[in-house]
Amino acid sequence: MSILAVSDTSPIHRLNPVTKLVFAFSVTVCGFAHTSALWPLALLLLVLLPAIVYAGALRRFTQLLALFSAPVVVALFLVQGFFYPGAERVIAALGPARLSYEGLIFAAQTALHIMVLVASFLFLLLTTSPSRLMSAMTQRGMSPKIVYVISAALQIGPAFAARAQRILQAQQAHGLVIRGLRGRVRALVPLAGPLILGAFTEIGDRAAAMETRAFGVTRRPTSLSGPLPDSTGQRVARAVMILCAAAAVAVNVWGVIR
């Protein structure tokens, strides 16, 4: 019943978690390499989307992408579209606000860049179990603090969803009739505060529990989960992706200094 249940349902799910982390990271870096809108659009449609479809997570992905990027995108289009400084090609004027061509282009560029970031994160979230990612990263000797930050970021969504679900169930078990998406939203809106707070508290509790078990000490902790699947192919893929990211950064820096 979990909203973000991660199961071994596709070859993508079974990849080494670090491969997927490197993938998400490289795609994001590449997305920001060039200001043009075409570049992030191509990454979204030609790289991320096929990966998501292959993982069989398209529906969830679309819903979550819309949920997380819609507010930002709408705000961008309103602010940049109407109030782009130094706009020349005005399409429409509404009092002091002037909808400009330059503003819309800039909004689209920024929105697509942000969507690549969100989409890469969602890809990781939907195909990787945080605990396995954590053990894979610790096995490779990454700093426990970095491991923790990444895994906490991946867990906040699922923790939030699980908690929302438990509250809805409790309300129904107290006889409340909840029908459809509208009903859920109506039942949850008054609880948004405690809900978000609770999700953070849960993750905070986990962090505290980990600290009491000497998590964060410099010695490499022993992993209980045994070795995770890896292959030469994946090692090569990771190296290539990191090279791509480095190249993207180089292109970007070159563009700035030129």
């Binding site: 199961s7 078990a173 405690p194 609770g198």
Partner: protein
Amino acid sequence: MILSIDSLTYAYANGTPALNGVTFQVAAGERVAVVGSNGAGKSTLARHLVGIERPTSGTVEVEGRRTDELSIAELARSVGFVFQNPHDQLHARTVAKAVEFGPRNLGFTAEQRARACEWALRVTGLTHHAQDHPHHLSFGQRKRVALASVLAMDTPLVVLDEPTTGQDHRSLALLGSLLGELAEEGRTVIAVTHDMEFCVQHFERVIVLERGRVRWDGTVEQWLAADATALPADGSRDDAAERSGPPTDLERPQLTRLARELGWSAPVATVDAFLSELRERTPSVPAN
């Protein structure tokens, strides 16, 4: 039968098997403790009784109606379910409002509501906290608010998931007498617990779950007397469980173990029973 479970098997969406062919019935008015170690499937089983979880296969019937054909809200008229974690069900500004939530949803009249809430707050020892914010209470108190919010719905079946967690001695005594009161009213109580003292003091029947299977089902007296390596409910050896490891030796209450160490044959679980047995065996122990 108020509750009838037949070959209930359940696996979580991620593939974790949680229940495996669970079958038992509960008659109206019974007090049943479902015990077992962590991860045995107790909470999963309890959640099936209110329809929060639906069987992968097999059936659960409450008052003769299959739970998979009813919504959670419909089942709430028959089954009051107290969640293991009180944080998930308290969302009102005052204790009184939290307790009123269920009766309101079930369409109680103002008068019925007032009576049900007054009673529920009294029997859980919360009358003086009625106007407090639930988040300002201790964990144990919050658990009792959750209990009160379910009792107020006046359901024939009450299911409690780990009711003793975080309760001090006084609250435990209160909980015990409350269970007695419910029994007198003819209500059925099923509690999931790993607190054996609590189990033998307040329940008449014990069902032992182990790795999603019913390992043992009988009266408290039979269970106390039974060997630690008790046979499963149907009396046959459960080969699968046998192969995957030794059977759970659920800790019997300390007095029971002491009596057993002393070689007494009669099962003993309470201080009173222990003293009377001791006096019988050792006339020099004075009666008080």
